[in-house]
């Protein structure tokens, strides 16, 4: 099952130099690879293994995730806003899926 419904929250406006919290949530099964199906066959692992956040091409934050992260992974992290720009967030899973979202920031 691919990742769906990415939701990213951050303040509606921020001043240059301000540190803001960014919260990112996505719907994903985060199948651990530890479980077996009804026939006793192992269910292959399918997790979001990498989350990244960039701002105008510069890396802010990376999370390498393992199967010990809950389904529908939620992450909160911080960002010192350098000025006007665009936030890019990306989730990559074991099935090769990548979800990318872009958000302009309202910098006052």
């Amino acid at each position: 099952m691919p990742a769906t419904k990415p939701r990213v929250r951050f303040p509606e406006q921020a001043a240059a130099g301000e540190i803001i919290e960014i919260k990112a949530l996505i719907t994903h099964v985060m199948e651990t690879g530890n479980r077996k199906d009804a026939e006793g066959q192992p269910i292959p692992r399918n997790i979001i293994h990498t989350f990244t956040a960039h701002y105008d091409g510069d890396l802010i934050f990376t999370a390498e995730l393992g199967s010990g992260i809950s389904a529908n992974p939620f992450l909160s992290f911080f960002f010192r806003v350098p000025g006007p720009g665009e936030l890019w967030v990306s989730w990559k899973d074991d099935e090769g899926g990548e979800t990318v979202e872009r958000y302009p920031l309202n910098v006052v």
């Binding site: 540190i19 199948e31 651990t32 530890n34 479980r35 701002y55 510069d58 890396l59 802010i60 934050f61 990376t62 999370a63 390498e64 995730l65 393992g66 199967s67 010990g68 992260i69 809950s70 389904a71 992974p73 939620f74 992450l75 909160s76 992290f77 911080f78 960002f79 010192r80 350098p82």
Partner: protein
Amino acid sequence: MNARSILTPPKPARDRLVDRREVLAGAGVLAFVISGARGARAETGAGRAAVIADPPPLVPTAQFQDAFQKIVGSGTPIEGRLVLELPEDAENGNIVPYKISAESPMTEADHIQRIHLLSTQNPQASVATFHLTTLSGKAAVSGRMRLAKTQEVVAVAVTSDNALLVARQVVAVGIGGCGVD
């Protein structure tokens, strides 16, 4: 290798567990006692009371010990500067909120490079690795993790001058996560 020596100095670990013994006994979660305790119980014949009076350490998995050793190498992790927040009791091991933070100016000269989140009892010891940058502004990250059973969770941070910061928290788990029985 002595499992306790790399993970936790014996005294603090024991203090933490002793502090929690009434809670643990009350919750009826003593089922997690490990082989050392079973041995002690058999020898003394004192049963449950003896176990409660002197709770055993939670022996970390070999995978945890390997992962921890790889991160720490020959360095000595510093206690106290890294803060790991988790509930002491997690009813549902599938969704356990965690928060990891450290005081840091997050400048080029002085910042937290990365933070490792490790489980001592899950099937996979490495839960997450967070890479921070000077754009992070603040060394804090939070999310939700799975815990297969009652255990100690360990966070290790690496600073820009390669100092190691460590924090630990024992979490009593009701229903285990991770999709294992």
